[in-house]
Amino acid sequence: MNNAILPRWVDIFLLPAINLLAALCVAGIIIALIGENPFTALVVMLKGAFVYHGGLGYTLYYTTNFIFTGLAVAVAFHAMLFNIGGEGQAMMGGLGVGLVAIALDPFLPPVLVVLLGICAAAALGGLWGIIPGWLQARRGSHIVITTIMFNFIASSVMVWLLAGMLMNPGQMSPETRSFAEGVGLAQLHVIAGWFGVEMTRSPLNLSFPIALMVSCAVWWLIWRTRLGYIIRATGHSERAAIYAGHDPARIIMIAMAISGALAGMMALNEILGVQGRVILNFTSGYGFTGIAVALMGRNHPVGILFASLLFGALYQGGAELDFEFQSITREMVLMIQGLIILFSGALAYMFNPVIERIYLRLTQQEQADG
């Protein structure tokens, strides 16, 4: 009886907006406390994210990362699995790209290397999802615990490889050699240049349109295919899935494989789109933020798109804040980001009861008046 009270638009638009507003209010109070004008700060942030030269490019570049990791969390969530392992899966995706590129770029044309690299990113990310999935499905180890563990394992594996076998000879930093010329996803300002269009330089690259296509594919998978149907059925009611003749263990592993593959594809943006080599810690927390993105986007690709854009703007605008204000430091910006994650992720449903009550009162009044 409780779930059906609020109409969809309230859940999808109003609640996230209120959460965002609450986070901004708290952040504003803190900014006021350190003696800056919160409204000026907000304007600087917005301009930094959307208006200043290259700002939008950077915003969309960050957005790309969040789309991949947000979708990863969402797919797992439809099977009622809480995949905390996006970070590790993304690292392994980067490793996949790197291994393919380093092994094959002397022999194969760049386009082929990139295509194989994309497959390897999805495959290794998927592998890093399927193992915790298997442990959950067949051994009953809780997916939250195992995916967290697998983040640590992935991180250690990366350090071990990048500071060892894969380290660029003759260098001291933990990273691979650069990939061969042309092995990468073109940046959009370069592509625009091919057509004679001037675009501000930014790291925004072909991963962004790929992310948009993947979003559509995820929507289609979840709501228009048999597999998606079975994943959702398993997520809502495992007993119903068993009754219908499906093996939940198998479905859990499939969902985790897809989830891991999506997280792994985040590496396209960072490794193929920007770095051109594998570096340590390129995931820098995007995997974790993906959880907040998915929660805020209500596990729907369209919602995730908007939430990703918000977080992208926050990252880019936050950097601008740090740059413009003496008293607002990098840590301050992180705190504001943290607040938004707190309100729209962890406390996503905090305002639900209040909104429900207000909505009920309003509709009842309407009925009484009508």
Partner: protein, 523 residues
């Protein structure tokens, strides 16, 4: 309906009623669960409240026991207006409640359970010895015999219920509410409960009996109130009414209490179980069951809830693998070494209407159209090999809805927004439309309104007459007896015997449910 309403005052004319509810209103979202409900209960009577699921009985009782607060309206006890803030206030005012699902700590003794929450001393030993004395007196007064030192989980369900009653009386209950008390009892245990209720009434305790079983209303109550759609539609003296009249009041239209059973024309055996057992975590759920079913007959499986019927359904449908024995379905042998899962068994021509339609039969957050293909997703007419066409799903569902009179006939509506009866019709439609030659049906009418019960029973008989074998599991003995051609009775996972319809009386089946074999019954 207001004109039908007739106030009755029982034997205590002149005195104020011990319990008076006036114009109780309660609303949940868009649902008006109780609308202007008024009720007078005379002291020292057994007062029944009947109504279908969703008629507002539970809400009313929850308001009385202060689980919910009414939006408006008044509760008076012995003429005194009451303002309950919590159940503690209700208990203080002398109201006791025996829930449908017992609220007992299974590994505590009877005495510990009764004292729990009502300890008279910080020292448990003192509290217990004090309580033991009072309880002995209570048990004597009301004829409630229970061993106070027995551990609750070792007691049969009937005795656990007695503990609940004793617990309420110990807290000073003068008005006892029993919510569907006989759902878990054998007919004999039900008889014993009624004896206790009569003894309580004789001692001046007022009893409010919530039930959907009209037989029980007729057997034990002095007065009865009927609820429909959140409203009180009638107050009647039991002696002036009949089950037919009550059923009509509950549904709001004439109903057929008899579904029109006709003798079957059974053909070949299509399902045979030989010594099938199921052992789970060391406990034997099914104990060497053997039986067979022929095409064109209904085998009813009777038993008190929890005696292996659920496990039987799950083994027959392949949800759980059997531990030993052989199951032959349409000539295909299944055993522990040669197991078959739900989809393989489905492919053999067996369909299954599960007991728990909320957790199994449907996926509640799914649209009706999505739920209507659960287990039949592979049907290629619904799209391509991977793709699911929403239009095809909706068309498929609309066809089922038209055929089985599912209301509202909106395929896009979420499954949990349909009433119990319509949900069940949807599940039944899905399973029957797969043209099975064996159908397993678990609790087909649990939580289903009378109108839908009639429809579902007719569908089952019709399906039988087209040559389908039906295994019907139900805890409603009346349902088993009115539909089955043969009746198998289960007790503690064992087959107590299979008897012909002509030999199956409430008395015989009741004894078998309690663990007496059919051979012993005949002696």
């Amino acid at each position: 309906m207001g004109s039908d309403t007739q106030q009755i005052t029982g034997g205590s004319a002149g005195l104020p009623p011990v319990l008076r509810l006036s114009s109780i209103n309660k609303r949940f979202g868009a649902v008006q669960a109780n609308s202007n409900v008024s009720l007078d209960v005379a002291a020292g009577t057994v007062h029944g409240i009947v109504g279908e699921n969703g008629a507002g009985k539970s809400t009313l009782v929850s308001i009385l026991y202060a689980f919910y607060t009414a939006d408006s309206g008044q509760i008076e006890i012995a003429g005194q207006p009451q303002q309950f803030k919590s159940s503690a206030d209700a208990i203080k005012a002398g109201i006791g409640m025996v829930h449908q699902h017992f609220m007992l700590v299974p590994n505590f003794t009877v005495l510990e359970n009764i004292v729990l929450g009502h300890e008279t001393s910080g020292n448990l030993a003192t509290a217990k010895s004090k309580a033991a004395g009072e309880l002995a007196a209570l048990a004597e007064k009301y004829g409630l015999d229970v061993d106070l030192d027995a551990v609750v989980q070792d007691l049969p369900v009937g005795l656990q219920q007695r503990v609940e009653i004793l617990k309420a009386l110990y807290r000073g209950a003068q008005i006892l509410i029993l919510d569907e008390p006989t759902g878990v009892l054998t007919p004999q245990e039900t008889e014993q409960l009624f004896e206790i209720l009569k003894a309580l009434r004789a001692q001046g305790v007022t009893i409010l009996l919530i039930t959907h079983k009209l037989k029980e209303i007729m057997a034990i109550t002095d007065a009865v109130s009927v609820m429909r759609g959140g409203e009180m539609v009638a107050h009647l003296a039991t002696q002036d009414t009949s089950p037919r009249q009550l059923a009509e009041l509950m549904v709001g239209r004439p109903v057929l209490l008899d579904v029109g059973y006709s003798p079957p024309t059974p053909a070949d055996i299509c399902l045979e179980a030989e010594n099938i057992s199921l052992v789970q975590a060391g406990s034997t759920k099914l104990d060497r069951l053997s039986f067979s079913v022929r095409s064109g007959e209904i085998l009813g499986v009777a038993g008190v809830s929890g005696n292996g019927q659920s496990e039987l359904l799950e083994v027959l449908s392949g949800i759980r693998p059997l531990s030993s024995g052989t199951l032959t379905i349409n000539g295909h042998a299944i055993s522990a070494d040669n197991p078959a899962g739900p989809s393989e068994i489905k492919a053999l021509g067996l369909a299954h209407v599960p007991e728990d339609r909320h957790a199994m039969g449907l996926v509640l957050p799914f649209t009706a159209a999505e739920s209507a293909v659960l287990g039949y997703e592979d049907d290629v007419q619904l799209g391509s090999a991977v793709y699911f066409s929403p239009e095809a799903l909706n068309r498929h569902c609309a066809r089922l809805m038209a055929e089985f009179d599912v209301r509202p006939a909106s395929p896009e509506l979420k499954s949990n927004l349909f009433s119990g009866g319509n949900q069940q019709k949807l599940v039944l439609a899905r399973e029957i439309s797969s043209a099975p030659n064996i159908l397993l049906v678990g609790q087909p009418t649990r939580g289903v309104d009378i109108g839908a019960i009639e429809f579902i029973h007719k569908q089952l008989l019709r399906l039988r007459d087209t040559g389908c074998a039906i295994i019907l599991v139900s805890v409603e003995l009346d349902e088993i007896l009115s539909l089955s051609d043969r009746v198998m009775v289960m007790n503690a996972g064992q087959n107590m015997g299979i008897i012909e319809r002509s030999d199956a009386s409430t008395q015989t089946v009741g004894l078998m449910m309690a663990g007496v074999t059919d051979a012993e019954v005949r002696q």
